[in-house]
Amino acid sequence: MTRFLHSFMDFLRLLGHETVNRVWRLGYGSRFFFAVLFRSGASLTRGRLILREIWFSGVLSLIIILISGLFVGLVLGLQGYEILQRFGSAGALGTMVALSLLRELGPVVAALLFASRAGSAITAEIGLMKATEQLKAMDMMAVDPVARVVAPRFWGGVISMPFLAALFSTMGIFGGWLIGVVFIGVDDGIFWSSMQASVDFRHDVWNGILKSFVFGVAVSQIAVFEGFDSEPTAEGVSRAITRTVVTSALAILALDFVLTSFMFRGIS
């Protein structure tokens, strides 16, 4: 009986420790976020640092974003046509493809891909810099590692994300057009005009861009924080990378729900 009680107490202690640890990390992460924002002045004036990070997280993610966007669009075209033609409204295919991409799939899937392609790379880079004590060396030379290493990576990710989401949606719409119009034979004019009639720039396109911007901030912040906070060992860095991908995915999906309920409440 006492042994059972002891193991139960141990379990409770572990649970409490884990909870307190999570809350502590959340607080530390928030503080880190503001530190990055306040110390990013130097990197914003030195454009070349950010340019390199846009290349690193934006240009290098281009291939996976474009190809995934194309395939998502192809699938949407096939499935959308299959469902819509049951109701005799295959003409609404353009509307369906465009709205589902612009509102949800574009920002969300692009952000998920961005988190696993660029976010993990950022975490690995910063984590390894920490493990090899490069960050400490910078500190010794009176170079602020947050301003020199973290802030450019953060802003590079934030700037790249909306472009990547827009490219994803564009490729998706192209894919839907390819399947619907070229292969199945939905009328080209109806495909585009029904799309234009029901897609509103401010309500659909702009909200999608806004979403991807928020996701960009969240993913970049999580990536740089996990890298900066990682244990300076090989195992610690690999754990930090895993945490980046998992936390980013959860954050994207949760934020998406919150943003959607704000943006698309339906007018009146």
Binding site: L51, M195, Q196, F201
Partner: protein, 157 residues
């Protein structure tokens, strides 16, 4: 990676990103149909607006001429007060008839304007007097059923 190649790649990335945004803005979406600056305002009272919503279309002869901008309840007359903005290019006579139609069997509802024969045109802020409410399907069906039932009673052999 040297500087020139880096600049080139980032420039390429930003260029196709902006290209994609332009494509989404110009080819995929529309800026709310017509520009809202060059419009004048009309009002109309309906007994029942059915499923009319904000930003619903206002059409005449099937052409989009404006949008619904406000829907209120008029608590003095117990009817719905609908405000719409009409494109400046289009003018309608004073005895224009406004009715709520449905596009297709289950489509969106819109206001249809049918011009009358008056010499004078509706000015900014004017009220369309002759209106017809949305057709409530339930009313139509119950009327039909009622007629059928009364027919059966009054015509015994």
């Amino acid at each position: 990676m040297n500087r020139k190649a880096l600049d080139l790649w980032v420039g390429f990335f930003v260029a196709i990103g902006i290209g994609a945004l332009l494509f989404l803005a110009l080819k995929v979406s529309s800026f709310s149909g017509i520009q809202m600056e060059n419009t004048y305002q009309l009002q109309a009272r309906f007994d029942n607006i059915g499923g009319l919503k904000l930003k619903s279309a206002v059409r005449s002869a099937g052409v989009l001429v404006g949008r619904v901008t406000d829907i209120r309840y008029d608590s003095e007359k117990y009817v719905a007060l609908v405000e719409m903005h009409i494109d400046n290019r289009y003018l309608f006579p004073k005895d224009t008839f406004a009715a709520i139609y449905t596009s297709g069997l289950l489509g969106d509802q819109y206001i249809g304007l049918e011009p009358g024969g008056d010499e004078e045109d509706l000015a900014d802020g004017a009220t369309v007097l002759k209106t017809q409410s949305a057709v409530a399907l339930e009313k139509l069906i119950s009327q039909f059923m009622f007629n059928k039932a009364s027919e059966g009673q009054t015509a015994p052999p």
